[in-house]
């Protein structure tokens, strides 16, 4: 009989609870040598950058499988808790499952331990999920490359982290983007931050949201896997922010006006 208390492996750990209930994260599929990646839907372009009051997290809405457009209303920015968002690029099936696990993990910890999980703990939790997913990621059927953004209430400071598909985490001081359209917009973000009218971190929410809309439209121009906004069908990019008040998704009515303003030619 073990001397360890029942919950030694992690008090308040929802993943531990899940495993005790019989759940297990899928491992690499034995004997699977190759898969037609074109048959697996993929997420495309998401980004995050600091603005004056916090961080902005944005993404296009398209999901593709190879050359096929599978879905034009995919939400790739997912709320995890009141102060955290995850933006996903990669295989939605894996990414959505990770987001669901993380969301329950953070809420379960907060409720059971009567205090929120630290920002470091949140960052580590996503890294662990990605490491556990290494088998599927290497087989090419479950690769996810997320961005995690959170507001640390204790430090009164927002954070952005970028992850590679194996779980390495990198803190981002200014801006980051991931997905197939990201090379297009990373260069513009860097340019805007260094030589734009204002540094990214000094911009208002409206200015930041406007930039995000323009960047995603630009990415959509050069990358077929990134969907441009289609106001006639009420398809707009997802624009969310995190401040000391928590996360907020820009509502459709607000987005419709801002989209028109942002995409108007000069």
């Amino acid at each position: 009989m073990s001397d360890k208390p029942e919950n030694f492996s992690g008090p308040g750990d929802f993943i531990d609870l899940l495993e005790r209930s019989g759940y297990s994260w899928p491992k690499a599929i034995a004997g699977l040598t190759a898969i037609d990646k074109a048959s697996v839907p993929q997420g495309t372009t998401v980004m995050a950058f600091h603005f004056k009051d916090g961080v902005i997290v944005a993404g296009d809405r398209r999901a593709t499988a190879g050359n096929a457009i599978m879905y034009e209303r995919c939400d790739k920015v997912i709320p995890i808790d009141d102060f955290s968002l995850m933006a996903i690029a990669g295989v939605p099936a894996t990414a959505f499952e990770m987001a669901r696990i993380l969301s329950h993990n953070f809420e379960y910890y907060r409720r059971s331990q009567l205090q929120p999980l630290s920002t470091e703990g949140k960052i580590r939790a996503l890294s662990k999920l990605l490491k556990d997913n290494m088998g599927l990621a290497m087989q090419g059927v479950g690769a996810v490359s997320p961005i995690f953004a959170s507001y640390d209430q204790r430090e009164a400071k927002p954070y952005i982290y970028f992850y590679d598909i194996l779980g390495a985490q990198f803190e981002i001081q200014t801006h980051t983007a991931t997905g197939s359209g990201s090379p297009v917009i990373r260069g513009i973000l860097e340019y805007e931050d260094l030589w734009g009218a204002q540094k990214l971190g000094q911009r208002t929410l409206k200015e930041a949201a406007q930039l995000a809309i323009r960047l995603l439209q630009t990415a959509g121009q050069f990358d077929s896997a990134t969907g441009q906004g289609r106001p006639e069908d009420k398809i707009y990019p997802v624009i969310a922010s995190i401040t000391d008040q928590g996360y907020r998704f820009m509502p459709e009515e607000e987005l419709a006006v801002l989209f028109q303003e942002s995409t108007k030619r000069k």
Binding site: F14, L17, L18, S21, Y23, P79, D82, R100, I101, H104, E107, Y108, R111, S112, L114, G246, R248
Partner: protein, 248 residues
Amino acid sequence: MFDEPFRWMEAISTRHSYVQEKLKKGQPVLAVPYKEGALVMGFAAQPGKIFEVYDRIALGSLGHPADVERLRMTLLDMAHLEGFNRSEKDVTLARLLQFGIAPAMKQNFEEVMRAPYLVKLLFAEIDFDNRPSFFRLNYDGHWEMFKKGAVISGNDKESEWIQKQIEQTDFASLSLKQALKEACRLWEEGKKQGSPESEDSDEQPTTLAEAFDRWTLEAALLSTATERRALYRVVTPDEIEPLKSAAK
């Protein structure tokens, strides 16, 4: 020892008396509706009476802290597993009680060689149509549902009186400030109504002024006035301060 029905019934009766005696000093916890949701409140010498269970479920408790903790964790585990495996919309108090915790508590209570749970639990829930409902769970697994609010207390006289008042008060039309004030008034009046039964009334606060002076008012809301998925929030010291000042 319990092979005759009479012996078993006697043992159960003794067990009821034992638990009731242990819970006698349990302070009232009230759960009532208000204009924007549900309020749970109670005074406590030690914080740890009111908790969040899930997005739309709050728990109030009295009794032995270790037993409260064990049942709270059981509820958290059940709710979060159900929310993850199915949907947060499938996490309802009626299901958690009827198919989860109540049968287990009944079994525990009737196994007379095991230590019984020394608890009374009170729940508030806001459904997906934003309607509140209230539940009371006894140490023996018996549970009841209320529409207008509910109370638990170690003192039966006190809880019966407060429950009657809750039924007669239109809490659902009150603002948070008014509902808090009215709930505090019922708490204080309930103390007066229940005082003859209490032998140690001189040791415990019986007025709001004494309660604020010696104890902490714990209060939490399930507020529909939020865009967040989780409706639970703790009532802030700023929201409690006017009550404290008025009680002096």
